[in-house]
Subunit: 357 residues, 2 copies
């Protein structure tokens, strides 16, 4: 690993009591470049801009994918990653679908640990606080040819985070727009999937909804995702969530929620979640909760669902009656080392990992 | 317009008799930045890299779209653009679908003319030669938030071009992968659409096909596009091409071919092009030609079509019997000022447009 420490660290001016998510970047970043058919040496360097031409293929043809993950600090100042191998595996699935080279495990995991260790002072401690980590791969060849790039960059950047939205939100069931084609790239964390979702989200915002519940593009009869999250529906005391597919992201938080629900003896049904069944459950008052899950906000509880011209108002549950909030608490307790970790999900970041690197 | 001419022009080292498409860039580029809700002043500056962080939103969320267009030099050294208003209109349709700000007409058109005029020495003259021009818009805000960017860059870069592939190609009808969802972004020249197409194309390449004929993602029974081109099918003496839609790009070359065919009295049917009808026509020997059209290569003639495990071998037509080649010749003659332009498609680029700018 090439190590180039910042000579002008900004950590001194960072106020862990007052910051906004995603705007502040830690002092360093990881960069690794791919050319001539292979990945070069991993480099830890000061966070900052690099040189790219507007003819860069990522800007033109969108070969870019990313991961979202977090590091958590416990009361003793120890730092933990959460299931980083899942993110490693998934970024390579995304890369493969976009015809990009896969990242070697040591580049991803060693780079991640080195970065988090070097900038551990940037990780805020406290409820809902964490370091949001963004590994990404993008094309870097400078050529106007609509074909795969021959050069790529893998980078890891990170930003202190807090649960930036915890108030309940209203979501609109899409009956026209969609985020994924059959035989498309919906399962991948492909950059283009996000850009494609912004305009329909803007339209939903104009109708008073924070997010869109994405449905299948052919019939709009089945739930797929919600905003940039996986979605869960509770009818009676059973939880339903769509089966992952080529169109649905295999979310780490989703998988963790399923495991945590099962541990509590809650029945989880993984399969089609039909709009009709959700609406019918609302009509007969068995629809108790609908929520989204994802790394950034963990859980987004829905207070209302827009369905055609109607707004279905969901019950307001007390904390102890809510599966969404109970499972969120279970998850966060494991992530932040406040509870046992029977699943082996936490990965401690050792100190001084770069010594001897 | 801010004008910053190159002090180290590379034109002296450019050999117009020997170059490869898309690798050489002309001496200048156009850049215009958007922030605080408005576009700034257009800048003509030396082509080259600019500073972007790996946390740049275009790399992460894929808000990026582009246009492809050409400038042509005639025997007298005069330079022409081809239907630039169509590209202007389309980039704004793409931008709107990706929730990006639209470009003002003067930024697009004036920037284009200034760039082409300043670097007119870079435009090669001769059969199939032209200057390929790439206007693009991409997000430039530096933030890890999955929402629309608040900053963007509009840029125009350009590269001397030749018809880089004119030999007939084999194409595979997709029966699994697809490029566009209903309610998605298929009609837009969104960067992510290209990245999504590369892996299926790679699989087609491994089967011995150069490109994929994209079909609808629900049934795979209807032609949509071919590779990055619109597609035409000739059965008997009638030409068929899919109707443009939210899933199909409204190609300038496509529209020009339709007009040129009609001028020749050729019947053109715009509507569903069913895989079954094409295969049936092949069986009963009325399938005469299938080809793709686009700005970069103008026409790509297909010699074979892969359909499931079968390879349908298309007839080899003489030039004068081929609608594809005849219409291509008609189009190129107009583009390069070798024929009358009854449609008013050519736009001459005046000399010294920057004087007094």
């Amino acid at each position: 690993m090439i190590i180039q420490k910042s000579t002008q660290p900004r950590i001194g001016s960072f106020d862990p009591e007052s910051y906004s998510f995603g705007d502040h970047f830690i002092d360093h970043m990881i960069v690794c470049e791919y050319q001539d058919g292979k990945w070069g040496e991993v480099k830890l360097m000061p966070y900052g801009p690099l040189s790219f031409s507007p003819a860069n293929m990522a800007f033109n043809y969108g070969q870019a994918c990313f991961e979202g993950m977090k590091a958590y600090k416990d009361k003793d100042g120890e730092v933990y990653l959460f299931r980083p191998e899942k993110n490693f595996e998934r970024i390579n699935k995304s890369a493969a679908r976009l015809a990009m080279p896969e990242i070697p495990k040591e580049v991803f995991i060693d780079g991640l640990k080195a970065l988090v260790d070097v900038d551990r002072a940037w990780i805020p401690y406290g409820e809902g606080k964490s370091l949001y980590i963004r590994p990404l791969i993008f094309a870097t060849e400078e050529a106007l040819k609509a074909r795969v790039s021959h050069k790529y960059m893998f980078a890891i950047v990170a930003s202190p985070a807090k649960s930036y939205y915890t108030a309940p939100v209203s979501v609109k069931i899409s009956d026209y727009y969609s985020r994924a084609a059959s035989g498309g790239v919906g399962f991948a964390k492909a950059a283009g999937n996000y850009a494609a979702s912004f305009y329909p989200t803007k339209l939903a915002n104009q109708e008073g909804y924070e997010q869109v519940i994405w449905t299948d593009d052919t019939t709009h009869e089945n739930f797929e995702e919600s905003g940039t999250m996986n979605v869960f529906v509770r009818i009676g005391d059973t939880i339903y969530t769509p089966k992952t597919s080529e169109k649905i992201l295999d979310g780490v938080t989703r998988d963790s929620f399923i495991n945590l629900a099962k541990r509590r003896g809650i029945e989880v049904v993984i399969g089609d979640v039909k709009v009709k069944d959700v609406v019918d459950a609302y009509r007969n008052e068995t629809l108790k909760e609908v929520w989204g899950v994802g790394t950034a906000v963990v859980t987004s509880v829905f207070e209302a669902i827009g369905y055609k011209d109607e707004k279905l108002i969901l019950p307001k549950l007390e904390f102890e009656d809510s599966y969404a909030l109970t499972l969120q608490r279970d998850l966060v307790a494991i992530q932040t080392n406040q509870a046992e970790d029977p699943f082996g999900w936490r990965v401690k970041v050792e100190r001084h990992v770069l010594e001897g690197a």
